[in-house]
């Protein structure tokens, strides 16, 4: 289903489109599985958790995570969230580290294609639902799109305070001094905040949230994003969300403001200077090149380039 954000509240009361699919409308699910693999009651349970998460931006809602046909750490949380919101009319894109053609992305895309029959795409603009591991696409997201993040560790303070009862209390009381202790340590040790991914954010001025291991380069994209952002952690059994147009602020010190990564060179393939670059080693002598991590964005720019810029740079 293509859900618009204002429809989200009513959606729970409607008959889910996926139930209609189960009755034979739309493409038939393969291999005797229910539409999108999970049974309808599980999907309802997860949708309830999602609604609660949307209502309390950044708050981690516990849910009854199911065993999925892939190991923990491969995106079981993200898959369950995707399975609960996907409908026959959706167009699905799956990325892993920005790329559409890595093992994880290919397999999750095939999984949903087999169990739902929905159309899949590699183009960010065409997708209504994007499941991602560790990146936010470079092409700006739009209203009506949903992005689902795979989250390994939902609790941003876990490494500093291992007791979960304590971290939950800290969230409840808004005691977040501890998180700055981590940033302080970074600066004391390295002279700057060395945390480069999973950089903690404050959502809606209330809840501290782990953005999942996206590079901090992507953090500013979460702020006031028109798309609905959902986060699923399968092993830790938590779902959280950032509703459209919500304030998302990366933590910082006054004299050490938040700074995303920068590169001195543009992408070696498409020449982009505004995208997140991966370093690729070319041979044994250490030569290397920097290319866009978002494969769709890079391909798009290459197609457009002759008309637009007429050559390199």
């Amino acid at each position: 289903m293509t859900i618009r954000n204002e429809d989200l509240m009513t959606q729970a009361q409607d008959v889910p489109p996926s139930a209609a699919a189960g009755r034979g409308e739309g493409p038939a699910p393969g291999d005797g599985y229910n539409f999108a693999y999970l049974d309808e009651r599980t999907k309802r349970m997860i949708r309830r958790a999602i609604l609660k998460a949307v209502a309390i931006p950044g708050y981690q809602v516990p849910f009854g995570s199911r065993e999925m046909p892939l190991p923990y750490g491969w995106g079981t949380g993200g898959i369950q969230v995707t399975a609960s919101v996907i409908g026959p009319a959706d167009v699905l894109k799956v990325i892993d580290q920005g790329s559409d053609d890595t093992v994880n992305a290919v397999n999750i895309r095939r999984f949903f294609h087999r169990t739902t029959g929905v159309r899949t795409t590699e183009r960010t603009g065409e997708a209504t639902l994007i499941q991602t591991r560790h990146r936010i696409p470079e092409t700006p997201l739009a209203e009506g799109q949903i992005i689902v993040y795979q989250v390994p560790v939902p609790e941003p303070m876990q490494r500093l305070e291992p007791r979960e009862a304590e971290t939950r209390k800290m969230h409840a009381l808004g005691e977040y001094g501890l998180m700055h202790v981590r940033l302080y340590e970074d600066i004391a040790r390295y002279g700057h905040v060395s945390t480069a991914y999973d950089y903690p954010v404050m959502v809606n001025d209330r809840y501290l949230m782990s953005p999942s291991p996206i590079p901090k380069f992507d953090n500013p994209k979460m702020h006031m994003n028109p798309a609905l952002q959902l986060f699923g952690a399968g092993r830790e059994k938590r779902i959280y969300a950032v509703p459209p147009y919500t304030k998302v602020e990366s933590l910082s010190f006054e004299d050490h403001p938040f700074e995303p990564q920068r590169w001195s060179d543009p992408c070696a393939i498409c020449g982009a200077r505004d995208s997140f670059l991966d370093e690729i080693l070319m041979d044994d002598t250490g030569s290397r090149m920097f290319v866009c991590s978002d494969s769709d964005y890079c391909a798009d720019r290459r197609e457009m380039k002759p008309a637009e810029t007429g050559g390199q740079e």
Binding site: L160, L173, V181, R182, A188, R189, D255
Partner: protein, 263 residues
Amino acid sequence: MSADFDRDAPLLRVRSVAKDYGSIAAVREASFNLWPAEVLAIVGESGSGKSTLLDCVSGRLKPDTGTVEFMTRHQGMADIHAMSEASRRMLARTDWGYVHQHAESGLRMGVSAGANIGERLMALGERHYGDLRAQAADWMARVELDEARMDDAPRSYSGGMRQRLQIARNLVTRPRLVFMDEPTSGLDVSVQARLLDLLRSLTHALGLAAIVVTHDLAVARLLSHRMLVMQRGRIVEEGLTDQVLDDPQHAYTQLLVSSVLQP
């Protein structure tokens, strides 16, 4: 309300506090007052209920009966067990300090000394790295720690240094009341002497009120103005430290004083 400067009102008022562990009465009918800038020692043998009383008074444990009231900065006398957990925790990390017997329980062993000192300030919203470091350096100097070791983790510190770091971490928010649970036991005597000296000068210089739980009468003698003697959960004797130690009235206190080894 200028509760701060009202020297006639107690800072802490404890009334009929009792705590049972099942059929064991750990603390029975404990009542006392603590005035601003006063150091009170609670002494007694192991199992006499000193630590349970300290836990009840410092809000870490809810007593079965009785009240513990603290003179807050803005609302006057407030029952700490009746207030919300949020305000109690706020009180605990601003106006109070808690020095543990084992520094490991009071410190974050994995992060640097500077971050340990700065944590309370960051929790209160201090967001300037330079200021945090300046304050950490200032407090390290005050507790006689080498500033050069600010970025070392307390793991690499000796026992005495850890205890001093713990004190700095607690005092950085300028609390008015510090609870200390056997602050010097487990340290060798010369380190103990230096730490006691430091504690005495700090409480005096900052006008700190403190409750010190100890089984060591020498510590009580050096640090405290007044003392309570506990036996089997009851306060059996109360008075000025010198008076109690030089002229003990209760049979148990007499026993306690006479059992101190003289080198």
